[in-house]
Symmetry: D2
Amino acid sequence: MSDDLESRLAFVREFAQTSPYYKAMGMSIVEIEDRRAVLRVEIQDAHLNADGIVHGGVLPAIADGAMGNALRTLRGEAAQVFTVEASLQYLRPVTGGSLLAEGRVVQSGRRISFADVEIRDEASGKTVARGTGVFVIQDKG
Amino acid sequence: MSDDLESRLAFVREFAQTSPYYKAMGMSIVEIEDRRAVLRVEIQDAHLNADGIVHGGVLPAIADGAMGNALRTLRGEAAQVFTVEASLQYLRPVTGGSLLAEGRVVQSGRRISFADVEIRDEASGKTVARGTGVFVIQDKG
Amino acid sequence: MSDDLESRLAFVREFAQTSPYYKAMGMSIVEIEDRRAVLRVEIQDAHLNADGIVHGGVLPAIADGAMGNALRTLRGEAAQVFTVEASLQYLRPVTGGSLLAEGRVVQSGRRISFADVEIRDEASGKTVARGTGVFVIQDKG
Amino acid sequence: MSDDLESRLAFVREFAQTSPYYKAMGMSIVEIEDRRAVLRVEIQDAHLNADGIVHGGVLPAIADGAMGNALRTLRGEAAQVFTVEASLQYLRPVTGGSLLAEGRVVQSGRRISFADVEIRDEASGKTVARGTGVFVIQDKG
């Protein structure tokens, strides 16, 4: 692995560890490599609606995190990643357990980048949601 | 206003007040009427990424909440609302302040219901995101 | 109306009239103004599936046309409009008659532009589909 | 292969061959199996905008066809397939050649079915677009 890639991956790990939102949501990076990131979140009471079903906003949150970090591996700390559009299909209701969200870069161009994500129940391996996103990666400074 | 509508709106208010996710995210209902709900969220440190930009998952969360509650006014406690698909367009980056998310029922049929949402910065009134969703409303019990 | 706007609108009208796809699909512009375009299409046998229902690809076609032309009013012949992402919600099945698709610019920035579209049955005025799109407007030459 | 599956696949082939829209668009099924369909379309003048770029509505049309036919293999002539929502990401502009659209069933439940699609340039094999859709499969009669 080149030093450059290693420093970009280190940036992404650091980004996730120091982002207040990751801490608040109980999200962490469990795998990170070039163009791919896997996030883990353990469903907590704080993710539930009054009817015991996971709130519909929890899955897009980890979906966005997984796609965003996959994209952050491309440029590391030299650039910021902005979500332009995101879509998510909810295949199965989630009531508890832990989720793994695997985000991958589909294509990254000068203007626009595309990513997708698959969210699985960690215990059963079943896919609970799938999504796609459009992003802009912008030079810092 | 019919007693029936009033009891459905009371259910939605109660649902939001007792949902752990609303509390964790700092979301509350500020307006609720037949087929329409407005949620408010004050951006907190817990919503930010390490770069000070609101995490891309915060906006879909309040978008889903606003659409879901607009749909809950249709059947009240007699039914559960499940998100099937959701899309969001991010028009402007958000760094702080308070957001209002206005969700409306677009159409509700026997099998499928549609809603949309607009998220505005409370201070400036500027639209920061717009989205749509597909939902299933399912009888309880 | 400024001469400049008039020349941009004239370009869009010309664009639609000379596009082979518009002719093949039976689409035409019925209204065009700054940031807004209305397309009309008369449902023909060539739009149907074997079961007599309009093919699911007809509505995105006129949706894309309406949004694209709304965006073309911004820069006229100086730029090309590329679709990056498009989403459509199908509210009602369509079996015949004529459709009007109204596309509007939601926001246009340096990198990314957003539009939305509503498709109505011309006779009843009922909305049959609603959609959104992300676009890039690129300088020609 | 069971006789039942064979008769369902035969129905889908027949459906595509007799659909006026397929003929008008120059689309045909090149592969069909349980839960998967590949459509081919040769880009013609009739698919172009005035600027020589394939109209943004052509790709959703073959995307919808590929996903719809993948879903039709599930129930054959016993049911109708209705598109509820469709999203498409445009990865590369298309100016000519032939396209292959591969649609697959992601999940099919009692109320809702999900599919996805990948569109590739036939000569280069490069992916030009990717999409997802939500569908309802409804009993006939």
